[in-house]
């Protein structure tokens, strides 16, 4: 079973849920796909083996290039520009799709490897831990996420800490998930962000459920939306200073008195997946 933990905004509690659920699932793999802000792995350890991740960027052979600009017109990310009669590659905008090489009629484009980030990995007790890390200044971490997801298999249980929002990197992160756990705060902003991610997972036809984090008041905001759209509410994490403090000091809170909240959520997820 693969559980992806998502939310429309940062700070909703994705990492809190992902880390603690992974902790409770025996032998599970933890995959931190939030490559722009990878912090989930530090709950488990501070020592990692670092694996480099490369992606392909185009290199233009000026001897072969006739400045037909077909590659420039093709690139929807504008990673190629006409720079005073020469094709200039802007690696920071490149999404490594390889299209420019395909459309070039003169075979003037080759690809080279460029370092875009790392995968930090370790094994703690019976958990394998993997966390992607995007190199500062790089536009997209999708290829790092692809590599992280290859670290696990369908037979293994795994929990994915997704990036916030509903962009390409989230789509990649949930591609193989059996269940999408939507973490939301009971605020109007939280609700709007929840709608955004729910709209995305509907397209992918994924099973899903909501956890309300920082639950204190106004829970009905989220509950009404869940009822209207027939999304199960799997549980509530209380809005408590003690919990926040423990979590901010990298404690795995499902080890102590807060464990029942996470046990309850996990049990509900298992039921939903079997439905």
């Amino acid at each position: 079973m693969q559980i992806a933990v998502l939310s429309g905004k940062g700070g909703a509690g994705k990492t809190l849920l992902a880390v603690n659920l992974a902790n409770l699932i025996e032998g599970s793999t933890f995959l931190d796909c939030d490559v722009e802000e990878p912090n989930g792995i530090y709950y488990f350890s501070e020592y990692f083996i670092k694996e480099k991740v490369y992606s392909k960027i185009p290199v233009v052979d000026e001897k072969k290039c006739v400045n037909c600009n077909m590659c420039i017109d093709f690139c929807r990310y504008n990673a190629l520009i006409d720079f005073i009669g020469k094709v200039k590659v802007l690696p920071s905008l490149c999404h490594s799709c390889g299209g420019c090489q395909l459309v070039c009629p003169h075979e003037a484009i080759k690809e080279k490897d460029e370092l875009i980030g790392w995968i930090n990995q370790t094994i703690i007790n019976d958990h394998q831990i993997f966390g992607g890390e995007l190199k500062i200044g790089k536009e997209t971490g999708v290829s790092i996420i692809e590599k992280i997801l290859q670290k696990t298999s369908d037979e293994e249980d795994s929990v994915i800490d997704c990036p916030p929002g509903n962009g390409c990197s989230v789509m990649e992160s949930i591609s193989g998930a059996d269940f999408c756990l939507l973490v939301s705060e009971p605020t109007i902003f939280g609700l709007e962000n929840l709608k955004m991610v729910y709209d995305l997972i509907k397209i992918y036809n994924k099973k899903s459920g909501i956890v309300i984090n920082k639950a204190i008041k106004n829970n009905e905001l989220i509950e009404a939306y869940a009822l209207e759209n027939n999304i199960p509410i799997l549980g509530y994490i209380p809005f408590e200073k003690e919990l926040a403090l423990l979590n901010s000091k990298l404690n795995i809170v499902s080890e102590g008195k807060y464990r029942p909240y996470f046990d309850h959520i996990l049990e509900k997820i298992r039921k939903e997946v079997l439905k």
């Binding site: 006409d82 720079f83 802007l90």
Partner: protein, 110 residues
Amino acid sequence: MIIVIPTKEQGEKSFVSEQLGRANYFYVYNTDKLSGEVIDNSYKNERHGAGVKTVEFLLKQNTDILITPRIGEKSLEILLETKIKIYKSNAKIVKENINDFLNDELEELY
């Protein structure tokens, strides 16, 4: 000499746009001919790289001087490889920014 300014509205009486890559129009002024031209920014709604496409546009116009309130990191990096000089616009309209530049009253950014 060619001076380019990103503008909100069309023409020399417009205010300078607050953005460069996503400006509505560009005002391209030729100091030798004493005439200006309004050009639509066809890349203002690009999801990625509007700024770098603006640099490409500036190069095609044989721009000597860019007058803008600000410039993004990626565009600047490429512009620094060119001969284009960048000046900081003031709060006045486009025409007055050009006059102020010609009277050496604008600050050179890069």
